[in-house]
């Protein structure tokens, strides 16, 4: 520890020496920066990041608890002052949700009867991993969060992270006991999405602002969408499950859809990492239906992938977390529907 300063103080001749060190280290930084520009995903850099994240996780977790307690207390005080207004809003929302619940129950029955009629293949189940946010980058340009689960719990690179309101981001670094979520607002974030009702697919691109934008591939026809339409993950590219709610279209800005996210990053604390294995199209798998009564040919439906979104809603509390319907974006002989619900209940 002495080397950090004490002995540097002695002798004036050291001064020029320390300036050389400073400049050398500066050039090392610039070199690092240039090399991370060309090989940000290089295994050495990733390994270093993951090691540091792992090492810092216990310290972060230690402080995250008290911070959360304080935030909760402050939130309680704030709630106390507008409890009447909140009650009124909640009562209204509850009435609305009850209607939705009834509609969902009716739909569930309808879907169940369709599943009996058609060839139905159970999609791979989503295994959610519950996690607590222990870190968050307070940086103007890098938007990410750290969670207290890692490869030991089954987290791996690219997995989707949701909270009760919607998609939060995806996993980019995985340590043994901690991992990093790249938020949708980060400038590096690219998530394939589609706009419900507009039948268009695009990429949700982070712009470091609170509201990311959906960009569409250039085409001669203008893309038509309206504010208020829902934005969901499309599952294109085979990384994130299809149909995770992302947000709603807020406005049209020069042909790009600005999206108001469902996730509120100022409140994100409990999240679930979706351990999801994307269904692969393999001929022999397709030939073995899980529902014995079904014929594979019976359901080669011609519906476009963006239309065949199915969601199951249960009136139980855990249904508040987004359900994860998924169907491969690739054309397949058999329709795959998804109704896997996270089995675990978030506390």
């Amino acid at each position: 520890m002495e080397v950090l300063g004490q002995d540097r103080r002695e002798g004036l001749g050291r001064r020029a020496d320390s300036r050389v060190t400073l400049l050398t280290l500066f050039f090392v930084s610039v070199l690092l920066l240039l090399s991370s520009l060309y090989s940000a995903e290089a295994s050495v850099f990733r390994k270093a990041r993951e090691t540091v994240v792992d090492a810092a996780a216990p310290a972060l977790a230690l402080f995250a608890g008290p911070i959360n307690a304080v935030q909760g207390a402050v939130g309680d005080i704030r709630d106390y002052f507008n409890v009447l207004k909140q009650n009124e809003a909640l009562r209204q929302e509850n009435a609305e949700l009850r209607q939705w619940m009834n509609e969902a129950l009716a739909l569930r029955e309808t879907v169940a009867s369709y599943e009996m009629l058609h060839a139905y293949y159970a999609p791979p189940a989503v295994r959610p991993i519950n996690a607590i946010v222990i870190g968050e980058s307070n940086d103007a340009f890098s938007h990410s969060m750290l969670v207290n689960v890692g490869s030991d719990e089954g987290v791996s690179h690219g997995q989707a992270v949701i909270d009760p309101s919607g998609l939060v981001g995806r996993i980019v670094d995985v340590g043994k006991a901690a991992s990093r979520i790249l938020l949708l607002t980060d400038v590096q974030s690219r998530v394939p999405v589609y706009i419900e009702g507009a039948d268009v697919e695009g990429l949700l691109v982070g712009r470091t602002k609170a509201r990311p934008a959906v960009t569409f591939t250039k085409s001669s026809e203008p893309v038509i969408f309206e504010p208020g339409q829902r934005v969901l993950t499309s599952g294109a590219g085979g990384v994130l499950p299809r149909g995770l709610p992302v947000g709603v279209v807020a406005e049209d800005r020069k042909g790009e859809a600005i999206v108001e996210l469902y996730a509120n990053y100022a409140r994100t604390r409990l999240v679930r990492v979706l351990n999801y294995k994307f269904p692969t199209v393999e001929p022999d798998e397709v030939a073995t239906p899980s529902d014995g009564a079904a014929q594979p040919e019976a359901s080669s439906s011609s519906a476009s992938p963006s239309n065949e979104e199915t969601r199951t809603v249960q009136p139980t509390p855990q249904a508040v977390t987004p359900v994860t319907p998924a169907s491969a974006a690739a054309p397949r002989p058999v329709r795959t529907e998804e109704e896997a619900l996270p089995e675990e209940v978030e506390d």
Binding site: G5, T21, L22, S29, N138, A140, S144, L182, V187, R207
Partner: protein, 159 residues
């Protein structure tokens, strides 16, 4: 051991930047404490915060906040270089003058950050969040300056 205090404070500052503090329900950005530390000790005791420590603090910040490696070390080292070269001007001046000096240093750091990040991402990034964070840092500087001055005078140098 006492001579390592600025370095340890820098590490604490980085940890604060990696914690979900969400000051003011997420509205107020966390001040860049390491920048204040680098500035303060570059003026009042460069020997207590050698370039190696500054480099490590920056690298730790890059790794914890998920930015490109080398960004924050470069920013902090440039700040340290410029401040040390202007040190004779700051020493013995009024605190207000030093504060204005810090505001200039923070502006310079923000400019470098914005340029590098814009170059790396290929688009001109919005500056709102960066300016807000720098403003918070500059506004809280006198507070930290007061604390660090006491620490430097009473604890570190007295050793």
């Amino acid at each position: 051991m006492k001579a390592a205090t600025p370095t340890l404070l820098g590490v604490v500052g980085v940890l604060l930047l990696a914690l979900p503090l969400r000051l003011g329900a997420g509205v107020v950005p966390t001040p860049l404490l390491p920048l204040i530390i680098v500035f303060f000790w570059s003026v009042y005791g460069p020997s207590y915060l050698p370039a190696g420590s500054v480099f490590l603090i920056g690298l730790l910040q890059d790794m914890l906040t998920g930015g490109p490696l080398g960004l924050w070390p470069a920013v902090y080292l440039v700040t340290q270089y410029i401040v040390i070269s202007q040190r004779s001007y700051f020493l013995g001046r009024e605190q207000k003058v030093v504060w204005i000096g810090f505001a200039f240093a923070a502006t310079g750091a923000a400019l470098i950050l914005w340029l590098v990040m814009s170059l790396m991402s290929g688009v001109l990034l919005p500056v709102g969040a960066l300016l807000a964070q720098m403003a918070t840092t500059v506004l809280t500087y006198p507070l930290f300056n007061f604390g660090f001055a006491h620490l430097q005078r009473r604890v570190i140098v007295e050793a």
